[in-house]
Amino acid sequence: MPTQKTIAATGNTVVAEAMRQCAPDVMAAYPITPQTTIVEEFAAFVAKGRVHTEYITVESEHSAMSACVGASAAGARVMTATSSQGLALMWEELHIASGMRLPIVMANANRALSAPINIHCDHSDIMGARDTGWVTLFAETAQEAYDNTIMSIRIAEHPDVLLPTMSCLDGFITTHSIDRVQVMDDESVAAFVGEYTPANPLLDLENPVTHGSFAGLGGPFFEFKKAQREAIERSRKVIDEVGAEFAELSGRPFGKIETWGMEDADVAIVVIGSTAGNVRHVARGLRDQGIKAGVVKVRCFRPFPFAEIVEALLGVQAVAVLDRAESFGAEGGPLFLEVRSALYDSEERMPVINYIYGLGGSDVKLELIESVYKDLSDVAAGVEAPAGLVYLGSR
């Protein structure tokens, strides 16, 4: 069993620590708030000789992901980190990384997108990238950010998957707050992630290959996209297996979704990221008042765990989905669309209400979460559900 020590650290500090322990061959680094301290602390590890990584300082995030694509095609284990506008600037390379089946691991500090200018947490950046073909994990806490980062390497590099993987943590709330985190010893992490053997490295001079080829003009582009779909479907099993193995090692359970109180819940909130802790806190209080409140936290967004969501929600009388991102003009936020779609084929179709909350770091007070549960209790008692989505706590 690994030796674990408990430290007080920010989410970014432990993500940098996890990356050091995974020992990437190459890291591309470009600063952006609130991710910067990840690559900054990693740079210190490189400078002190605590990790032997080729650390490339690039001139933009577009270049950062381009460098990652090149290095990964060359056969390196590659990592980077970004946020918000940086992730947006990477957009074309995100598709290239997944299309070329390069197991790059990236941390994303979830932050709003301009305009207006804002540096605080919401999920607009990562939800905008949800169809880029990356496996996407979300952390509630610094601990989960640390754990997800280590698991991401194993998921991405698994021969059945070979897809880039993103490990997301909430900007400032998780990236910059000091949290209690258990950190494993270097040897245990190294043994868990193992050595990376690339499938088609450009640097294998005995077996020259071409990366980035053309498949247009009636070529098999369609088949390559189908192969990507099959790979991300296979990742479901791999994520469960890697999560179970990591749980065994660390003593910390992992699930694509994690539930609280769902065994007998009448009303439930589905949520992603740091707000899940607040929701659990409110649910616990409401249980004391006799309201059977439950929580479903989504920790893996791509592939979306629709079967697990349905299983968790069966028997609930009313559901609220909390979205920290907009999908302007859609029927609701990205998580709502997934959850309600998952329920379409289920035995029961309970009312599902969509709340948009916390955009640009707007405050998510406990009373607001409590009001959601109260709404749900009303709907469960027969009151008509609000039509359309609700901007939670808006003026």
């Binding site: 070979l162 290959v209 098999p220 088949e223």
Partner: protein, 107 residues
């Protein structure tokens, strides 16, 4: 090493294609008949040609066939019809002729 065989590529299923559209061998660009992109075809007037080999030097696709240090024919399987050979010819011995119904078989 056995040559990567793509002769049946139109019959391949999704799983038959290499991971991430990698081409798993080198030296196979000669199998790629880029001549199909051409709209104008070079034609050489042997009476005018001085065999200076300027066209052979400048052709970006190595599509000028030479034997015994003399230009013989154009490799129309790979000539994209860019017209550089005609442009650089010092004695105007090469004309670019529009491809018509008599498009030569490039396979």
């Amino acid at each position: 090493m056995k040559k990567w065989d793509i002769s049946q590529i139109n019959e391949w299923k999704t799983d038959d294609f290499p991971l991430g559209a990698v081409i798993p061998q080198s030296g196979n660009s000669c199998d790629y008949a880029t001549g199909g992109w051409r709209s104008d075809r070079p034609e050489r007037n042997d009476d005018k040609c001085t065999q200076c080999l300027m066209c052979w030097i400048m052709c970006p696709d190595s599509a000028i066939n030479v034997a015994d240090e003399k230009v013989t024919t154009f490799n129309l399987k790979h000539c994209k019809g860019c017209g550089i050979c005609a442009k650089v010819c010092p004695v105007d011995a090469i004309d670019m002729v529009p491809e018509g119904c008599d498009l030569p078989e490039v396979k």
